[in-house]
Assembly symmetry: C2
Homo-oligomer: 283 residues x 2
């Protein structure tokens, strides 16, 4: 599906862009892909919040919104409607809270009503060009928000991103997600990307009135699946109505509600990732 009818000239251009992308991204210390076996698990929310959490710990962080069908990272980080500017070094990412740099197709689309009508190969090419032209600068972490699923599209997109250091799989606590999480882990293996671990989103909801915890979408499947698959379990993010409220309002939840249990969970996960990637002596 990712085959294109290309002539020599076009092929040369693609190779040149790929070379530039590799060069530009070589200044980024750690590149982490965030994926999910299916949509609707809050993968983009987890990516955005984790970026904020890592940045709040003094890391230089960027997010690449590679979910080209529904680029939602700008809204989740409070920079929807912004534009990427061109500088002498290339296209400049938009800067969000904590200095998180954001690159997204969303910044290139005329209005949110415009659907991306490009077919697969065109989209991967547009992303490749974006990667080649962005002036990332020196960074510690780049989080890559891949399209959901394990089909041809996320595969094509993952393949054009040079040297990814690790993958994080996001799931919900239902046992029904077992098969799709397994597919996501297999997907990372196919790309030869080590799996850093699984994050369970939409875990228990604590009723503010009664203090009781309700496991509306299931309980503990993330941890169970991680054990079965012999990968690390990174943590669980509780449900909180303020998450939807902040996301709908277009403000970054992690920045808006730092005292929430969900924000604290992201800080713990950020610590785990830092220890795993930078080594025990870090921080």
């Amino acid at each position: 599906m990712s085959t294109l009818n290309v002539n020599k000239e076009q092929l040369k251009k693609i190779q040149e862009m790929q070379r530039k992308a590799v060069e530009k991204m070589s200044k980024i210390k750690y590149k982490i892909a965030v994926l999910s076996g299916k949509g609707g698990v809050g993968k983009s929310f987890v990516t955005a919040s984790l970026a904020s959490a890592l940045a709040s710990k003094g890391r230089r962080v960027a997010v690449l919104d590679a979910d080209i069908h529904g680029p939602s990272i700008p809204k989740l980080l409070g920079v929807h409607g912004y534009t990427m500017m061109a500088g002498p070094e290339g296209i400049l990412p938009v800067t969000a809270a904590y200095g998180v740099k954001v690159v997204s197709m969303d910044f290139l689309l005329p209005s949110e009503e415009t659907p991306l009508i490009w077919r697969g190969p065109l989209k991967t090419n547009a992303l490749r060009e974006l990667l080649a032209e962005v002036a990332w600068g020196d960074l510690d972490y780049l989080l890559i928000d891949l399209p959901p699923g394990t089909g041809d599209e996320p595969l094509s997109i993952a393949q054009i991103i040079p040297k990814v250091d690790g993958a994080i799989v996001v799931t919900i606590p239902s046992d029904l997600s077992r098969i799709v999480v397994k597919k996501a882990v297999m997907f990372a293996k196919k790309l030869a990307i080590p799996v850093l671990g699984i994050i369970e989103n939409m875990s228990g909801f604590t009723c503010p009135e009664s203090g009781k915890v309700y496991y509306i979408l299931g309980k503990g499947a993330g941890r169970r699946i991680a054990e079965e698959m012999k990968v690390d379990f990174l943590g669980e993010i509780p449900m909180d109505p303020r998450i939807t409220e902040a996301n709908d309002r277009g403000v970054p939840f992690f920045v808006e509600y730092p005292e929430s249990e969900a924000a604290k969970a992201f800080l713990k996960i950020a610590d785990k990732i830092i220890r795993k990637i930078e080594g025990e002596s870090s921080d």
Copy 2:
């Protein structure tokens, strides 16, 4: 993407299958496609529950699980692990509670660990063959659970199903879903299928302890989007931990918890659909 290198022989076979599919499905009075702009909104759960609700009202109902990437209808209707048998008339659907007939690729897969590695065109062909060979019998309603999203795959699949009478769009209550719901409505229009309305899944959660309602994933976006798009709002399904519990256990929620608010909501929606499709004088 759905183009195939076919020779004349193959083309003839495809046309023959399409003809048979049209003939077999002509005995079904009303064909309704259930779609969603994105995954993870509970489209398959809504399809399965709505099928049970329509059947509990005396309608002869079947479900076609056309979500070939993750066929989950059999588990949601309590018939996972069953096999379709061949009869003199063709392949016989599996029968679930209330006599709901189920046809799914899931019945043809050797084990749940086996990922479908077929590429797009192969999958649509397999589904076309299935449609041609199934002995549906006389039916009032066929609900078709399409793959999530509005990309090439759901489009190719929707196109091989003859004469769909209406489409139902499933969403969650977050305003972030506005764009994807609009895309789903446009998708139905592109296929010249009238939109019957929008169903909002994962609406308010009522704490059993305090009786308070929490709108964890947002409030009322389904109704607002329906008004904006000038399509009917069919109803909202409240969140309930028993939904996940039943789904994970592989028993049909609607049958297991008929007294739940969610089951009652499905009955109301079934009534609305019957009135819309069969006319005011029905039931």
